[in-house]
Amino acid sequence: MDVSARKRSFQPSRSWIVLTTGLLVLCAAACDPPGKPGPAEIAPENIVDFQTLYGQNCAACHGADGKNGPGRIINDPLYLAVLPRDTLRQIIQYGRPGTSMPAWDQREGGPLSPKQINALVNGIENNWAKPVHFATAFPSYTGQGTTGDSGRGQKLFLRDCFACHGPGARVGTVTGADYVSLVTDQMLRTSIIVGRPDLGMPDYRFLNLGHVLSDQDIADLVAFLSSKRPAGITAMYESAQNRINESQSGQQGGSTGQHVNESGSGQGGVLTKGNEGSGTGPGSPRQQKNEGNKSTGSSSLGGPK
């Protein structure tokens, strides 16, 4: 075999090598091989995206979009108009001890940092709160200061709720001891004020066939339902809530928040959550901090610590 022949036979293979190497280098530079790791996962404690936070921590109980879950509807303008922002934060932080609503704050043994709880509160308010226009002021969230009369509540229950919640009625009873033992009075109150718009329970404005339920009516109804609960459990819920209120006022210092007039302010107007624009209402409801503060009156008087 002469040299030139060998040379000729070599040429194509060399260009082959050059071509493949070139392609490989190009490929390496241009395309991402499948083995290349994707973007780094965000550590769970650094997530502050509302949808993610809500989806991972709340969706199971309060529904994928804040409604249609087994737990209280949150994605509801009326509810968010009634619920003061600070109270929302407090509920998330401390949960409702004794119920199926756990505490979420790390300091309470939960998984979320204060930053994440803020993100949740803001996300809930920004995404789901809308101005609600109604002729009279909303009932206060806690109804603190109004004492319910369970005898009257019983009559109201027969009048307003029985069609749906009487035994054998369409929805099912809410007067069974088992059910009432599982929820706090606040939860009952919230349910009466807001209803379950996602599931077909009207809110307090429509329960009495067009007559708005007064604060007193609501308190009476709650007192009636509450009387179905063994007294020990009610006491447990109350003392837990008191503990939360105390540690809150200890943390944030003092009950300087303005009390919303409990007995129905009677003022007409627009009450919206964070009502920067309207300014006509009595102002956003503030958190009630001095429930049961008799024992620790001093702590709730102190300024910010």
């Binding site: 083995g35 969706a59 109980c61 087994p70 199926s100 029985f162 009625a169 009873t173 088992d178 059910y179």
Partner: protein
Amino acid sequence: MNTLKRIAVWLDDRLHLTALWASSAGHEVPASSGSWWYVFGSATLLCFVIQVISGACLAFVYIPSTNEAYTSLQYLNHVQFWGWYLRGIHYWGSNFMVAFMSAHMIQVFLFGAYKYPRELTWLSGLFLLLCTLGMAFTGQVMRWDQDAYWGLSIGAAILGRIPLIGGGLVHLVLAGPIIAGETLSRFFTLHVFIIPGLIIAIVGMHLRLVLAKGINEYPRPGHRVRRATYDAEYAEIIRKEGVPFVPQAIDKDLIFSAVTLVLILLFALIVGPKGPHGEPNPTLVDASPRPDFYFLSLFAALALLPDWMETFVMFLGPALAILILIALPFVANTGEKSASRRPAAVLWVILAVLTIVTLAWFGLTSPWSPHMTAWSGDPIPAVYLKGRTPLEMHGALVFQNKQCRNCHALGGVGGERGPALDAVATRLTAPEMVRQVIQGGGNMPAYGKKLTPAEVSALVAFMQTLRPQATPPSQNSAPPENKLPRDVAQILAPTAPSGKHRP
């Protein structure tokens, strides 16, 4: 030219390179050993070399501190040019090393190569296997992520089971009572200095023994090893059909090593490195951590076996296996080498491989750790809430809050540790459900004291609705007007039935 040659001769005169070459690469081996069966050892060695090189490169960037280990791996993955590829090579190199080492060991076992006079070759190989597993284990700790943390805690638990010295050993290995920064330093030292040093030393001894005692000839059925005659027989084989290892017998090793190299590079390219999966945080037992594959079987065994067998499997099992392997060359020192005359040996291999592979498969596929976020993140399917009573709805809340969902799926979502409960009402009556929840059973914890009576009734009420096309019970009842008097009486009852509900 002449000067070069003189330098070469001078060097050879001082270093005896030609002699070294003749006695190592050039030594004569039985022609029958140039078989495809004999390639796994050299492939393992190649993997080790790859590990040393890629590991050294990684060490340029890796910072062995709890604060920075994770970040430096993230840096390699995302910032360093092709740093992820380096990690991929190191990861897959270790996988292949363990795999080929196992293949090598099986081959040696089946070919009776551990018998007289190669007992020490087998033993040194066994120690190499242990060292390699040690490298694999310490290596996955280097990742310092959830998986690492988890693997480490189980490893520590295994040690802790050893009677008497268990506690002290755990302290020694973790450099303290718990996993902490010192633990990482300790494992780093083990991973990059101590164990690799040991491996290099033992590999030297292993190869020296291979040269000194010769490579096992391809076994012939019916040809028994006898201590008195074997050495002479082997010398005869070498004399008759001996060929120099290089270049005659090495070709298959080279080809297989090349294939190995390409495979590692390809796997690193296509599958990539593992993790790191989330910074380790003992309070966040998120995700479902899984160990690297070589420990999957052990971990799966732990998860699948009942508690009382755990101590055995965790500690006695491995210890016994190692003892048997150490004793093997001395107990079965002579006799048949060929696998075709040793059915029991073949059975043992099949049994061991099957056990390990099935367990690993279980470990890979079976949901043996609960879904830690299902309870708060997986919504109850809407159909299971439609038309339910408030009590049943609240049962669903208890179901989530007590983390039943972490083990039980609904609508295909949720943990899979326990059975899906979509149709549980067709299987269990209410009292049976109560018993299951209160007493637990199988792999389900007993909830007894952790549930109030009201929670139990809500749970059971909810679960009783879980049947295909369930009809809400209240719909079957007559309209309220008809039974008003009795119902009114019931509803007006002043307090709840006493006794059953304690706070």
